[in-house]
């Protein structure tokens, strides 16, 4: 039986393109990569720090492209900078992203060219400190919508975003740093990957049996199952990868692919929960 008005959506699914979940992945990875870069620099492991700050810069470059390209007309991005709006997570996010990516680009530029090292290190530290906020704020952005699959998991969605970012940053280190210096990245990849699998379980529980269908059926469900295989494979490889360059790279590639797939799964779940009115109607019976 169709619900609502001829089964049509009650709320509109996003008018965004796939650039937006790509941004969630790249921006999340960049934030945590910058944090680990700062921590490794402090621990005098310059080799891994270098890989990670360059990874953060790559993530920021992809993010900037995605955010601007999704607006269709690049100059329109400047409209974002007209106001600072505390009620809009996107407005706050634009300033977080601008401060973060600016710092990362200075730090990475200095790392590559050797110019202005003290300034580079200062901005690397700053990016490292705000990196986790960069990684997690997007959960507030999507949570502050009327898509039931994003709106309802109040506690677990930020945890999932944090875990996916940690796994991504660790995976970058595994993929691009030599095994003898990638210990911290390996540990973060294992911890983040495991936390991602656990957070997703918790998210299913928080949603309950009816709402969880947005995540477990359709395209979102297919993506989530692929992500799970990739992530578990990545965690296993990373656990066995100590001192092995080849296994490290395999683990890194699997976890990067798993993280990206998981981001798309979450995104598709949000869209699915808007398209079928049953989710909105069920959600409204339990909201006071």
């Amino acid at each position: 039986m169709t619900q609502g008005y001829y089964g049509r959506p009650i709320v509109k699914p996003p008018a965004w393109t796939d650039l937006i979940p790509t941004y969630f992945f790249a921006g999340g990875l960049a934030g945590t990569a910058a944090s680990l870069a700062f921590a490794e620099r402090t621990a005098k492991n310059d080799r891994l720090a270098r890989t990670l700050i360059l990874g953060a810069a790559a993530g920021c470059a992809v993010s900037a492209f995605c955010l601007i390209a999704d607006l269709k007309k690049p100059e329109r991005f400047l409209h974002m900078l007209r106001v600072v709006k505390p009620t809009s997570p996107m407005s706050i996010g634009v300033y977080i992203f601008s401060a973060f990516s600016g710092s990362v680009f200075i730090a990475a530029g200095s790392e590559v060219t050797g110019i202005a090292r003290p300034a580079g290190r200062f901005f690397e530290a700053f990016a490292g400190l705000i990196g986790p906020v960069m990684s997690v704020y997007t959960s507030v952005l999507v949570g502050d919508t009327v898509m039931p699959a994003w709106y309802l998991p109040r506690k677990t969605l930020p945890a999932l975003f944090a875990a996916t970012s940690a796994s991504g940053a660790g995976a970058w280190g595994l993929l691009f740093a030599p095994a003898r210096s990638n210990g911290s990245a390996r540990r973060l990849a294992i911890l983040g990957g495991t936390a991602m699998v656990a957070a997703l379980q918790a998210l299913h529980h928080e949603l309950g049996p009816k709402q969880v269908e947005a995540y477990t059926t359709g395209e979102a469900g297919k993506l989530a199952r692929s992500a799970r295989v990739l992530n578990v494979g990545g965690i296993v490889c990373a656990t066995l990868a100590k001192n092995s360059n080849a296994l490290s790279k395999i683990a890194g590639a699997l976890l990067l692919a798993g993280g990206l797939t998981e981001r798309f799964a979450v995104y598709r779940a949000g869209c699915a929960s808007a398209k079928d009115p049953k989710y909105v109607l069920e959600a409204q019976t339990r909201l006071g």
């Binding site: 959506p9 009650i10 009620t87 919508t145 009327v146 930020p158 019976t285």
Partner: protein, 249 residues
Amino acid sequence: MGFFTDTTLCIGCKACEVACKEWNQLPSDGYEFTGESYDNTKELNGNSWRHVAFIEQLGKERDTSRWLMESDVCKHCTHAGCLDVCPTGAIIRTEFGTVVIQDDICNGCGYCVVACPFGVIGEKQEDHTMGKCTLCYDRLKVGEQPACAKACPTESIQFGVVDELRERAEKRLANVQARFEGAQLYLNDPNDGVGGGGSLFLLLDKPEVYGLPPNPIVPTKDLPLRWRTAGIAAALLFGAVVLCAAARE
């Protein structure tokens, strides 16, 4: 200022849709034939700011039937999700208390689309900005009423001061309740999840029958809680990073 849409008077003529398109110079959404009912507009979106819903209800034995018609429109919420989340300041509250998107400021980010509990706002494909009812802001400024209300032949769409419309809606409900089982007011309560609408409705069935959410809530209601939870997640993430870096093997 706002609308009171009294669906007991609506005859489904779609004059409001046409008047809106004409006055606001909105392009067509195409010529798709739904085959479901006399409604081929289907939904509110970036270029359709009034939408007449058409519902055929048959009795169990298929011996009785009734038609429900409702001209849907932006609700101009007291607590408007679209206005809250707009990152550019393009969406404003006007001197009339209405919610309006300024075309030249909108950058097409699309956040308002997913923040509207009613699915009102849509993307205008021709320039990739977002569109919705302005309650004819330009007409109000010169003392005219909105084009849809002006064109409505049965006074199903009434325009006026919101508080007066609320009173009028209460009176009308009392009047028709005996004749129409299931008659109810929608968005007339300033204490509901969106603080009441600047557009209120008298419906003849449950809101969901018309494709309206029964219990709309502005998403920004939970925003402080969400930032706190995200802050905790970010702190834990930082802790995890430090832990992984500190644990030398």
